[in-house]
Structure formats: structure tokens, C-alpha cells
């Protein structure tokens, strides 16, 4: 081994390497070995292997860190840092990718757009996310972001014969590129300030400057705009409803869970790292953004009749709640964000999975009318959806309550009473539109009798997400321990 590539470097990126290798393998096998569409199910094995190796890598990293008593493992001269924070988020990506891959099979068959490269796009996007959660260098982070975003541009437009899907992809691409421009601008300013792309060096350089320095302010503002775009915070949320609605539902699920989690991890790295010394500057700004985000998300969701769009707006409002954890900024707040992201993963994936089941051969199945009378047709799905929606609203004893609990507690601890009151009242607003869906499922009569799409994978994924949403709500201790130990090592 040379001095430029050590075994540590290798160890730090092994999960991402696995994802990239298997992604490439899927491309090749799909093309050469499995030309017959019926053989595509073997591709799922590849995804499973990729996730298995990735998970094993993460597990080894975790075990190594705790056996050495170290808080982080740094590779490539500090470009990549594997710490509890990164590993925690990566577990979320692994779960999201597995669930999405498993349910996509049936969905894409029904939509008539089943192509092997879809699975490699999932893996490549996850590879990008790996670097978003572990990167500590502007270039690494930027490449990770672009890798993830490019895969999503393609996946959002995956139903290429559907106008909606194409429109969504173009919108997402244009606005995404626009926001990346801002981010690149901010990054270049940071580089200009510090003369280095390492986050540590930038943090030191920014701290050395007075906070009113216009260059520092400009760097902070442009970076923040780029990041807020990515987590779809208002007023930079416009792409989200269209992209979410047009994309295949499985991709929407992936986009709203994994991509959001990765972006939040990215945002935390930047705001708590290089911009950490400017807290006094960005705290009021983020507080305003968070309030605006919750307002826009919750109020716009009220009138939606398309459930995917409704969930899109709801996911915007969830971004607002997560931002509040950063506004509070104490340990509880940061832990709160991690717990929030974890529970959000399960409940939001679950809610989208029910919509996946509603998509059948000739039925799009995304409207309030399509879900009407679901309780009569498939009580199991209806009850699961109820649990997911209650959890999204934050009603105990479901997992969502824990997320909200930490966010509210952190606001109380840091004395943000006003913010806390606004944030809690939006829970009541949210219940209104979530219960529009519930009302449709439980009170209305069914409009069509076609049975729901169902496959073993879908039922398994729904069962697991539903069980976890309830289990985290009723007995959260092990999950909270996990979040605690992974963050506070």
C-alpha cells in the first residue's frame, strides 16, 4: 500500500464500494446474462447482496470503532469521516433501499416500465448518499450530492411514456441544477475563505473572521439556500410536490425518505461544522424558514385530493420540524433530528407502500377516490395506513410521537417557547388533512372493486414498516439507545 491509499482509506469507504460494484454488476448482468424479462427477479438478489455487504461493512465499521474506543475513522486525509452519525444515517439508507427495491418489482411490472437499470440507479443513489453522510470535504460532499441527484433525475422520469413523470423529471432537474448552482457558489466562497476544501479548515477560517464579514455572510447564505432546496424547505420547496406526484410511487418513497435523510445529514454536517460559529446569524433565519416550511406544507396539504401530493406537502412540513431541532441546536435537538429521521423513514415509507399497493394494471390509484372504502376492501391495508398517518401526525402510541417529542423538548429546553407553540399547533392542522385520507378509507363507500396489487415483498415490507412504527411507539427504548450511542460516542 502506498501512502496515498491505506487500509484505513479502504475501510472507510467499503460500503460505498460495494454499492458501486453491485450497481455496475446489475447493469452488466441485465444486459448480458439476463436478456429475458422474466429473469429480472435475479436482479433483486444482486440488490440483496449489495445491501448485505453494505450492511456488513457498516456493522464492521461500527464494531471497529467501539472496539478501538474511537469516535471516528478518517480516510483519504480527512475527506471521508466514518462516525456514529454517518453510520446511523447509512443504516437508514440501507433500510430504505431494500424496501424500495423489494416493492418496485411489482410496481414497475404493473406500470409496464420494468428495466434492470432501475436497480442499479437505486444503488448508485445510495452510494452518493453514503458520501453525503460521511463526507467531510466539500468536493466529496458535492460529488456525493450530484451522484445522488443524477440518479434521482432519471428515476423520477422513469415512467417515460407518462407525461406527468417526464414533466416531474424536467422540473426536478432544472430546479435541482439551479440549487446546486447556489451550493457550488457557496462552496467556492468557503474555499476562498479557507484555502482548503476540508470542513475543519473552513470552520477554523470562518471562526477567525468577524461574523459581519460580507464574504462569510454570502458564503453562508448561498450554501444555506442550496441546502434548503435539497430538503425542500420553504420557500425553496416548489419542486417537491410536482416531482413527488409525477415520479413512480416507489421512487417517491425513496426520494422522500432516503434523499431527505441524506440531505438532512449533509445540512447538519455543514451547519454544525463550518457554519457552527455563525449560529447567532443563522439561527433566526432557520427559525423563520422552519415556521414558513411548516406553514406552507401544512396549509397547502389541506386541499389536496391527490394523496401523493398530500404526502409531498406533508413531507415538506416534516422538513420544517427537523429544522426546528437544528434551531434548538442542543444535544436533545440533534438527537431529536436523528430519531425523527429514523421514525420518519418507517412511517413515510409505509404510507407510500400503501399507495404502491393501490397502483394496479390500469388504475393509477393515487386519488382520494381510489382509497375510498379501503376498510371494506382490504382492512389490513386500511389499518396499516391509519397507523402510518397517525404516526406522521405524531399521535402516540406511534413512532412519530417520539420524533415530535424530542423536537418539542429541545425547543422547551432552549427557551424557544413561541416556536414550540406554533410547532405543536401545526400538529392539529396536520391531523385535519391526514384524517381526510382516513375518512375516505373508513367512512366512504368503495368506488371500484378491483383488488389491490399485492406481492409477497410488498406485504412483507408493509408488515415490517407497520410493526416498527408501532413498536418504536410502544417500546422505544432499544431504538433510542441505538440513536443515543451512535450519536454520542
Amino acid at each position: 500500500m502506498s501512502q496515498y491509499y491505506t487500509i484505513n482509506d479502504h475501510f472507510a469507504i467499503i460500503p460505498a464500494v460495494m454499492l458501486a460494484l453491485f450497481g455496475c454488476a446489475i447493469l452488466l448482468f441485465d444486459f448480458w446474462i439476463f436478456p429475458d424479462p422474466r429473469q429480472r427477479k435475479w436482479l433483486l438478489i444482486f440488490v440483496a447482496l449489495a445491501e448485505g455487504f453494505t450492511g456488513f461493512g457498516l456493522y464492521r465499521q461500527q464494531a471497529w470503532l467501539s472496539s478501538q474506543g474511537l469516535s471516528e475513522l478518517s480516510g483519504f486525509q480527512g475527506s471521508v469521516t466514518v462516525d456514529g452519525f454517518g453510520i446511523f444515517f447509512n443504516w437508514i439508507f440501507v433500510i430504505a433501499a431494500i424496501v424500495v427495491a423489494v416493492v418496485s418489482y411489482q410496481y414497475l411490472e404493473n406500470a409496464g416500465e420494468h428495466h434492470g437499470e432501475y436497480y442499479s440507479l437505486i444503488l448508485f443513489a445510495q452510494c452518493g448518499m453514503y458520501f453525503l453522510a460521511t463526507g467531510t470535504d466539500l468536493i466529496t460532499l458535492f460529488i456525493g450530492l450530484e451522484l445522488m441527484a443524477l440518479c434521482f433525475y432519471v428515476m423520477v422520469g422513469f415512467l417515460r411514456r407518462e407525461k406527468r413523470s417526464n414533466e416531474a423529471a424536467i422540473k426536478y432537474l432544472l430546479l435541482g441544477a439551479f440549487s446546486t448552482g447556489f451550493l457550488a457558489y457557496g462552496f467556492s466562497l468557503m474555499y476562498g475563505i479557507a484555502g482548503s476544501t476540508k470542513l475543519d479548515a473552513i470552520a477554523a477560517a470562518i471562526q477567525a473572521r468577524p461574523p459581519w464579514d460580507p464574504v462569510v455572510f454570502l458564503a453562508m447564505a448561498t450554501t444555506a439556500i442550496g441546502l434548503l432546496f435539497k430538503i425542500s424547505a420553504a420557500p425553496f420547496h416548489m419542486w417537491a410536490p410536482d416531482a413527488y406526484e409525477g415520479a413512480p410511487t416507489t421512487v417517491t418513497a425513496y426520494l422522500s425518505v432516503a434523499s431527505k435523510a441524506a440531505s438532512i445529514a449533509f445540512l447538519l454536517r455543514i451547519f454544525l461544522g463550518p457554519l457552527g460559529s455563525l449560529r447567532a446569524e443563522w439561527e433566526p433565519m432557520l427559525a423563520a424558514v422552519a415556521i414558513l416550511t411548516m406553514t406552507v406544507g401544512n396549509l397547502a396539504a389541506i386541499n389536496q385530493t391527490n394523496i401523493k401530493r398530500l404526502l409531498a406537502y406533508s413531507s415538506i412540513s416534516h422538513a420544517g420540524y427537523m429544522l426546528l431541532g437544528l434551531v434548538a441546536g442542543n444535544d436533545t435537538g440533534i438527537k431529536g433530528i436523528a430519531v425523527y429521521v429514523m421514525v420518519y423513514t418507517f412511517m413515510n415509507l409505509g404510507a407510500f407502500l400503501v399507495l404502491v399497493a393501490l397502483r394496479r394494471q390500469n388504475i393509477i390509484g393515487e386519488d382520494m377516490d381510489d382509497i375510498a372504502g379501503l376498510m371494506h376492501k382490504s382492512p389490513g391495508y386500511a389499518i396499516l395506513m391509519l397507523i402510518f398517518l397517525l404516526s406522521l401526525a405524531g399521535i402516540p402510541p406511534t413512532a412519530g410521537f417520539l420524533g415530535k417529542y424530542y423536537i418539542f423538548l429541545s425547543l422547551i429546553e432552549t427557551g424557544h417557547y413561541g416556536l414550540a407553540v406554533v410547532a405543536t399547533l401545526y400538529v392539529a392542522v396536520a391531523i385535519y388533512y391526514y384524517f381526510n385520507v382516513v375518512r375516505s378509507m373508513f367512512v366512504r363507500e368503495m368506488t371500484e372493486k378491483a383488488p389491490l396489487a399485492s406481492s409477497f415483498g410488498l406485504r412483507l415490507a408493509l408488515g415490517v414498516t407497520g410493526a416498527l412504527t408501532l413498536a418504536i411507539g410502544i417500546y422505544p427504548e432499544p431504538f433510542l439507545q441505538m440513536a443515543q450511542t451512535s450519536l454520542l460516542r
Binding site: 376498510m375 397517525l390 399521535i395 402516540p396 402510541p397 410521537f401 417529542y405 418539542f408 423538548l409 422547551i412 429546553e413 417557547y417 414550540a420 407553540v421 405543536t424 399547533l425 400538529v427 392539529a428 391531523i431 385535519y432 384524517f435 375518512r439 373508513f442 367512512v443 417500546y475 422505544p476 427504548e477 433510542l480 439507545q481 443515543q484
Partner: protein
Amino acid sequence: MDQHLLSIVLLTPLAGLLVLIFIPASNKNLVKLWANLASLAGFLVSLPLVWRFQTGVSGFQFEEKADWIPTLGAHYHLGLDGISLLLVMLTTLMGFIATLSSWNGIQDRLKEYYAMFLLLQTGMIGVFLALDFFLFYIFWELVLVPMYFIIGVWGGPRKLYAAIKFFLYTLAGSVLMLLGILTLYFQHFSQFGFYSFEISELLKVNLSLGLQEWVFWLFFLGFAIKVPMFPFHTWLPDAHVEAPTAGSVILAAVLLKMGTYGFLRFSLPLLPQASMDRGIVQILAVLSIIGIIYGALVSLMQQDWKKLVAYSSVSHLGFCTLGIFSLNPNGIAGSVLQQINHGISTGMLFLIIGIVYERRHTRLISEYGGLAHVMPRFAVIFAIAMLSSAGLPLLNGFVGEFTILQGAFEANRAWAAFAVMGVILGAAYLLWLYQRTMLGQVTNGKNLTIPDMSFREVALFVPLIAWAIWIGVYPKPYFEVLQRPVAEIVERVRPGYFGGVMAERQQPPVPIVRAAGQASRPLQAPLIRGAR
């Protein structure tokens, strides 16, 4: 057995629910039978609480405690004192009666209906038993979802509006209450260095008056919306009118008591300085009195039988909150007893409305008249229910209202003077209701053929009427049960209240109300006026 008694009471309905899930929905009779058996079992397992309960022992009994979420400091901690004993018994009995009353009234989606009832039952019992704030909050919110469905699926024509209004109002209140809980919780952490949701731990927290007031108003919003107190009552008539009979019964008899219970168990002991702050007490008493009089006046004007009873709840619950904020043993003990009374009598009134509604499918008072000729049994039972609600001596309502007025008089004579008007108006709207529906000649031909009450329907009322007469004639055991916990609350809010009396009697005095029949004699209430 004894050390898990509360868990058994709490989990019996839930166990019934779990079995119910596996009964095929097509077998309607089995579903009905099982649900009734499960709720009867829920009542029966709660009976040992009555005779094993030790009167006069301070603190909580049958306590159970286990770690639940150590990271958050939340425990599975149940316990029972005199106040919660009465409310739990009310819950289990009314739960069974409400379930039984749905035998014919509910025809579709039976399995879901009964499942919701059993879930609701668990939530309500949990609220009254929890001694850990986290656990309490979970049960508190757990109640909302089944009630939403009971109103929203099996309710009347405007059921969806009423259901979501109920949900949003109470949820808005309870999330704000959560902020109050978290403030206390965090203050406890910063003073003692560890997180705990235990009520006994939170009682040790030292709060500045400003912080106490902030928490008090947050709690107030949560509890006052549930009670409901005057400006927050608008969800109640809608929910009551649209809910199916059994839903109204449970809503009136038990659900509303969660709010008053919250004031007693949490607001007063945890925030004593804020609770006895002159301004706050004045505001709450005035709101209660407005509720008493406004509720009664609006009841007088109602065309709809059920809406009349719904508004009468606002009035009666006004008495309960007035009693609480009199902050003396009479007021508080009377308030708890009046909560039970209101549960019994208003529960009966809603059952009565359900019986005529099943027969005529209208609730307009003008559609009825002279029913006493057609339904003699019904007329007698309605008369008893009506008189118990109006506060006739020898029936339960009188004892509660009288004790509350006594407490209010001690606190502030003007309050008592205004509240008495509520008693008079209460008699007025109830007697007038009875006159319009039951007396006179039968004016509407459709009423001539309606059948009288069946055996099952009469059976629903027997335990309630018996209970009403018991409380009315011999309320002593109730006051004895309540004496300790009430004295503890008063002692906490107004330290030294019993000081003068203690020297003579060595124990907090019993709020003395003689049997209602003798109550026309001057009562010895001033005995309790200690050093102030």
C-alpha cells in the same frame, strides 16, 4: 393478584379486543356477545377494587411500577386513590352499559364498532390510573382515535364535521398540554439532574411563579377543552348530537371527566402557587359560572332533545370546575362526586334519548308529547333520570351540587349566588323538557304505536338508578373515600389550611354532608373554615 389488580383492570378490555379481532365479522351475534362479555368482564374485574380499597389511607393504593423507557425516564406506573377509584368504577360500569345499549342500535360494521369501544375503554381507564405523565399522555391521546371513529362512522348526518371538530379541538389542547408537561420535565431535569416523568418526582420541582403560570395555562387549555369550559365548549354539542347513543353516553359520562380529573390530579398539586393565584382563580371561577348559566340558558332554548342534554352537560361541568377552584375540601369533594353524578344522570338521559330515537328516528322535542300514556315504564325511568340530573333531594345530583355550592360559598359568596341560578335554571329546562315530551295528550299520531321499553332496556337503567339513589340517600362512604385525597390536594395548594383545625382534631376534617333527606337542617360547614 392484588399487586397486579390495576393492570388486570386496565388490560381486560384490550384482551377482549385482541380476541375480538379473530372473530369473523360475518358472525354478528358472536361479535355482539363477545363484546358484551368482554366489557362485563371489564366491570367485574374492577369490583375487587371497591372492597380491597382501604379508606382513609393516604397516598396511592395497588401501586404498580416498572421501568418502561429508561432513556426518557418514563415508567409504567399505575396507582389508585379515592378520586380515581370512583372514576374508574364509573368508567367500567358505563363502558358495560354503553356496550349493552348498542345491541339493537348499531347494525352495520359491528366488529369495528365494538373494537373501538374496547380500545376507548382501555384508554379511559389508563388516564385515570396513570401516575407517570408520559403514560398518562399516551392514554389521553389514545382516547381520541376511537372516539373519532365512533362519531365519524356510526354517527348522524353531520357526523364527519362533528368528528373532526372533536378531534381537532381536543388535540390542539392536548399538544399544548404536552408543552406544559415537557416544561415541567425539563425543569425537573435541570434541578435534579435526571429525567423523570413520575408525578411524585415532578411534585418536587421548584418552579417560579411565572413558569408555573405558563405551565398552568398550557394545562388549562388541554383540560378545559376536554371538560369543556365555557369558551371552548363548542365542539361538545356537535359531538353529542351526531354521536350514536353509546358514544354520547361514554362521551358525557366518562370522557369529559378526564378534563376535570386532569385539573385535580395535575394542575392543582403540581402548580400550587399558580392554582391559588387570585387572578387565575377568579378567571376560572368566572368561566365556570358563565358555563353554568350560559349552558342552562341555551338548554332552555333547544328544539333538539339531545342538544338540550348536551348543553346541560356544559352547565353541570361548570359546577364541577367551580367546585375545584373553590380550593377547599367541600368544593373539591363535591366536584368529584358531581362528576360521578353527572356521569350517572346524563348517561341515563342519553340512553333515554337513544331509546326514543331508535323508535321514532327523530330527536325534535316538538315531535313528541304525551309519551307517558304510551310508555309508562319509560316515563318512570325518565322521571328518575331527569330528577337526578335536576338535583332533587334524595337523588344523587342534589348531594353533589349542594356540596359544591357550600364550597363556593366558603370561597366567595357571589360565586355561590350566581351558581345557584344554574340549579334553578337546570330544574326549569329539565322539567319543561319532561312536560313537553311526556305529559299532556298524545298529539302526534305516530307516537301512539311505539312500544314501551324492553327488558334489556330496563336492565340498563337498574344499576344506574340504584347507584343514583345510593348516593342520594347515603353519600357518607363517598365522602370518606374522597376525604384523604381531597385533603392532600388542599393541603398542597393551601399549606396550613387545616392548621387551625388540625390542632383540635389531629386529622383533616371530613367534609360533612348528612344524608340528603336530612339536609334541610343547617349544615355544619363552617367547621372546616380553618386559619386563612
